[in-house]
C-alpha cells in the first residue's frame, strides 16, 4: 500500500507585501566579474551554469571587471549614458502629459533603461526587434525622432499610425522595430519566423524577440523556443525579468524552475542570465548572443534581471501589492547612476557635466514635445481623420468597407 495524504495546493507568494520590510535576501547575486565568458560557439550543455548565475561587469566601486568587461570605449559609454538619460527624461515628460490629460495611457521604463538601450548597441542596421511595450530604448538609442514617438502617444494629426494604436505601441521598420501588438507573447514566435526567413534567404540579418517574465507563461513562448531550437534560427530571445507582471510577482510565472533563463536549457538553447541594470553587462551579453546568431550558431536566451521601479502603466497602483520602498532595496541599483559612476571612475565624466547633460536632455525633450503638441494632443487640436478608421484594413478597400465608410459620412 502506498501511503497517501490529504493533498494541498501550493500557491506561491512574494516574500513581502505592503507594510512589510522589503527583502531581497533570496536573490542570489554573483560578484561582478566572476562569471566566465565562454566562446560564442560553446556547446549549450557546457555552459548550463550561466542560466543560474548573474553576469555582471560593474562592481560596487564603479569599476568594470572580469571577462565580460573591456568592450566599450569612453565615447560608446557616454552615448549609452546619454540614451538612458534621454529615455528617462522622455518618460518623465510623457507621464506628466498623461496626467495632464494629453493622452490616455503611458508606460514608463524607470529602472529598466539599460536593457533596451544597451541591447540596441549590439545590433546592426537591418536587424529586427519584436518588442513588447517596455523597449522604447531601442528606438531612442537608434535616434528615432522623439517627436514621432510623441505624435503617436498623442494620436494627433501627425501620428504615423493615424490614431489607430494605443499610446506607445510604436512601429518602425526602418529602425528595426516591429509593430507592437499590446497582445502578449505573440511577437516572440514571430521574431523566430523573421529569423528563419533571414536564414532561408541566406541573409546576414538577425532578429531579436522580447518578452516579460510574466508572459513567458504564455504558450507562444514555448512555440518560439521549439521553433528557434528546431531550425536553429538566428534570433536572440530576450526575457526581461523586472520582478512584476502588473501585480503578480515573478514566482507565479516561474514556478519551480530556478530561473527564467533555465527555460532555454530543455530546448538545447544556450541561456545566459545577466544583471539588467548594468549597461556594460547587458551590452556584452547581447553582443555575444548576436554574434552567435550572425555566425549561424543559432538562438540564445537571455534573462535580464532588473526591477520595475514604476507602476506597470498609468492605470496601475503598485502600492496596493508591494512595499513602497521595495525599489530602493533592489540590490542591483539604478542603471543610470551605475553607469554615471563608472564613467566618473574612468575619468570620462563628472557630476557637473552630468547635471549639465540632464538640463540639455530635458531641453531636447521639451522642444520635441512642443513640436508634437503643435499637431495636437488626444483631445485637443489636430486629429487623424475618421477616414483613417477604414483605410489600411486591407491593401485595397473591399466593397463592404467602402459602404460603411460612406455611411460614416466619409
Amino acid at each position: 500500500m502506498v501511503e497517501s495524504t490529504h493533498l494541498s495546493l501550493h500557491v506561491p507568494e512574494p516574500a513581502v507585501r505592503p507594510g512589510g520590510q522589503p527583502d531581497f535576501s533570496n536573490v542570489k547575486i554573483a560578484r561582478a566579474g566572476t562569471v566566465p565568458r565562454p566562446e560564442v560557439d560553446a556547446a549549450p550543455e557546457d555552459i548550463r551554469d550561466l542560466a543560474y548565475s548573474i553576469i555582471r561587469v560593474l562592481n560596487r566601486d564603479g569599476e568594470a571587471v572580469g571577462p565580460w568587461a573591456g568592450l566599450l570605449s569612453d565615447d560608446d559609454l557616454l552615448s549609452g549614458l546619454r540614451n538612458m538619460m534621454r529615455l528617462r527624461a522622455f518618460d518623465t515628460r510623457m507621464l506628466m502629459a498623461q496626467r495632464q490629460g494629453k493622452t490616455s495611457f503611458y508606460m514608463q521604463h524607470l529602472g529598466e533603461e539599460a536593457v533596451s538601450s544597451a541591447f540596441r548597441k549590439a545590433l546592426q542596421k537591418g536587424d529586427m526587434n519584436f518588442p513588447t511595450y517596455r523597449q522604447a530604448g531601442l528606438l531612442i538609442a537608434d535616434d528615432y525622432p522623439m517627436v514621432e514617438m510623441m505624435n503617436q502617444i498623442y494620436s494627433n494629426e501627425a501620428d504615423p499610425l493615424r490614431g489607430r494604436q494605443l499610446p506607445i505601441m510604436y512601429s518602425s521598420k526602418d529602425h528595426g522595430f516591429f509593430t507592437i501588438s499590446g497582445n502578449l507573447a505573440t511577437q516572440y514566435v514571430q521574431a523566430v519566423g523573421w529569423a528563419m526567413a533571414s536564414a532561408i534567404k541566406n541573409d546576414s540579418r538577425i532578429a531579436a524577440a522580447w518578452i516579460g517574465d510574466g508572459s513567458t507563461a504564455e504558450s507562444d513562448f514555448h512555440s518560439a523556443l521549439v521553433f528557434a531550437s528546431t531550425y536553429r534560427a538566428p534570433v536572440v530571445l530576450n526575457v526581461v525579468n523586472n520582478q512584476w507582471a502588473i501585480s503578480t510577482f515573478q514566482g507565479i510565472a516561474r514556478g519551480g524552475s530556478g530561473t527564467f533563463a533555465a527555460r532555454g536549457l530543455g530546448f538545447g538553447i544556450p541561456a545566459l542570465r545577466v544583471d539588467g541594470n548594468d549597461y556594460l553587462a547587458v551590452y556584452a551579453v547581447a553582443r555575444w548572443a548576436a554574434e552567435r546568431a550572425r555566425r549561424n550558431l543559432g538562438p540564445t536566451l537571455i534573462e535580464y534581471v532588473t526591477y520595475r521601479v514604476g507602476a506597470h502603466s498609468t492605470s496601475d497602483d503598485p502600492s496596493a501589492y508591494r512595499p513602497k520602498t521595495e525599489s530602493e532595496a533592489w540590490p542591483l541599483g539604478d542603471p543610470v547612476l551605475r553607469l554615471k559612476k563608472h564613467l566618473i571612475v574612468r575619468g570620462a565624466w563628472s557630476e557637473e557635466r552630468h547635471v549639465q547633460a540632464e538640463a540639455e536632455i530635458m531641453d531636447e525633450v521639451i522642444s520635441a514635445q512642443r513640436q508634437a503638441e503643435e499637431h495636437g494632443t488626444l483631445h485637443d487640436g489636430g486629429k487623424p481623420s475618421v477616414r483613417d478608421i477604414f483605410e489600411g484594413v486591407y491593401a485595397e478597400m473591399p466593397p463592404h468597407l467602402r459602404r460603411q465608410r460612406q455611411k460614416a459620412g466619409y
Binding site: 499610425l161 516591429f178 523573421w194 528563419m196 526567413a197 507562444d220 486591407y394
Partner: protein, 337 residues
C-alpha cells in the same frame, strides 16, 4: 487540358507559385518529406528543397506565428493547418496579429500569408476532424476567407491567395478532394476526371478573390452555398425538379453581394446552405444582407439549411450532414410559402 483532383489542383497552385516566386515557402505538420496527410504538398520538398517546403513541430500558433514573422521579413508563406479543427491554438495569431498588422502599423508592416485548412465533414472524422469554422474568420476584419468547390477554382483561387498582399484563410472542403460529392453518400462519387471543372490548366492562372459564380441558372429560387454544399444544392435542385439558381460564393470575405442581390431580386426566394452549425453561422450574415437589399422583392421567408447546433457526431454523420433531402425540403417549403 490536364485533369486534376482537388488535391492535385491545390498542389499545382503551390507548385506554380513557388516556381515563379522564390519568396513563396510552404510548411506545416507532415507537409515536408511526406507531403501532407492529404498529400497536397507531395513532391514540393523534393523539387524546391528543404528550406522552402518543410515539416514543423505540432504547434499551430508556432506555424502561423512564424509565418507572420516571415511575411514581415518579405516572404510569402503558404502554410497548412492539418485540419481546420486544429486551428484554435493559432486563432490568437490569426485574429489579433495577422489580421491587424497592416492596420496597426499603418502599412509599415504587412502580412501576406495563406493558411490552408481542410474543412468540413463527410469522412467519419468525428468532432475534431469535421468542423467548418469559416464564421470564426469572416467575423475578423483584416482576413480574407475562401472556400473553393472544385479543382479549377481551387487552383486559381489559391494562386491568387498566395499573391494577395493580405492574410487569406483558404478552407479546402476535404469531402471534395476526390470528386464533387453531392451528399448522396449511398452512391459512389464521380471522380473529378469526369467533371468539367476537373480540367485544370497546368500553368499559372488566378481567379479574382471576391467574385461568386452561378453554377446553375434558374428562375424559381436562389440557393446560396459554398464548398461541398454547392454540389448538395445542385443535387437538391435536380432531385426536386425545382428551377433553382445556385450561387457558389467561392469567397466569403470579401463577398460578392452584387451577384446575390441580382439573383434574389429576380427569383424573390432564397435558401442559404452551409455545413457549419446554424446559430451565428455565416448564413445569418447572408440572410441579413438579403433582407437589407432585396426586402421588397422577397416572396417568401429566407430559409437556412445548416449543420445542427451540436458538435459533429461520429456514427450519426449522415443525420447531421445537411444533405440534398434537407435542402430539398427547404426548397419545397420556400416555394409553397
Amino acid at each position: 487540358m490536364p485533369r486534376m483532383t482537388m488535391i492535385e489542383a491545390v498542389r499545382s497552385a503551390m507548385d506554380v507559385s513557388m516556381e515563379r516566386d522564390d519568396d513563396v515557402v510552404v510548411f506545416g505538420e507532415d507537409v515536408g518529406y511526406f507531403g501532407g496527410v492529404f498529400r497536397c504538398t507531395q513532391g514540393l520538398q523534393a523539387k524546391y528543397g528543404k528550406t522552402r517546403c518543410f515539416d514543423t513541430p505540432i504547434n499551430e500558433s508556432g506555424i502561423v506565428g512564424a509565418a507572420i514573422g516571415m511575411a514581415a521579413y518579405g516572404l510569402k508563406p503558404c502554410v497548412e493547418v492539418q485540419f481546420a479543427d486544429y486551428m484554435y491554438p493559432a486563432y490568437d495569431q490569426l485574429t489579433q496579429e495577422a489580421a491587424r498588422i497592416r492596420y496597426r502599423s499603418n502599412g509599415d508592416f504587412t502580412c501576406p500569408i495563406v493558411v490552408r485548412m481542410p474543412t468540413g465533414g463527410g469522412i467519419f472524422g468525428g468532432q475534431t476532424h469535421s468542423q467548418s469554422p469559416e464564421a470564426l474568420f469572416t467575423h475578423v476584419c483584416g482576413l480574407k476567407v475562401i472556400v473553393p468547390s472544385n479543382p479549377y477554382d481551387a487552383k486559381g483561387l489559391l494562386t491568387a491567395a498566395i499573391a494577395d498582399p493580405d492574410p487569406v484563410i483558404f478552407l479546402e472542403p476535404k469531402r471534395l478532394y476526390n470528386g464533387p460529392f453531392d451528399g448522396h453518400h449511398e452512391r459512389p462519387v464521380t471522380p473529378w476526371s469526369k467533371h468539367a471543372l476537373g480540367e485544370v490548366p497546368a500553368d499559372y492562372y488566378t481567379i479574382p478573390i471576391g467574385k461568386a459564380e452561378i453554377r446553375r441558372s434558374g428562375s424559381a429560387v436562389t440557393i446560396i452555398a459554398y464548398g461541398t454544399m454547392v454540389h448538395v444544392a445542385l443535387a437538391a435542385a435536380e432531385d426536386t425538379g425545382i428551377d433553382a439558381e445556385v450561387i457558389d460564393l467561392r469567397s466569403l470575405l470579401p463577398l460578392d453581394l452584387e451577384t446575390i442581390v441580382a439573383s434574389v431580386s429576380r427569383t424573390g426566394r432564397c435558401v442559404v446552405v452551409h455545413e457549419a452549425t446554424l446559430t451565428s453561422g455565416y448564413g445569418a450574415e447572408i440572410v441579413s444582407l438579403i433582407q437589407e437589399h432585396c426586402f421588397y422583392h422577397l416572396e417568401a421567408p429566407i430559409m437556412r439549411v445548416a449543420g445542427w447546433d451540436t458538435p459533429y457526431p461520429h456514427a450519426q454523420e449522415w443525420d447531421y450532414f445537411p444533405g440534398p433531402a434537407r435542402v430539398g425540403r427547404a426548397l419545397t417549403e420556400v416555394m409553397e410559402a
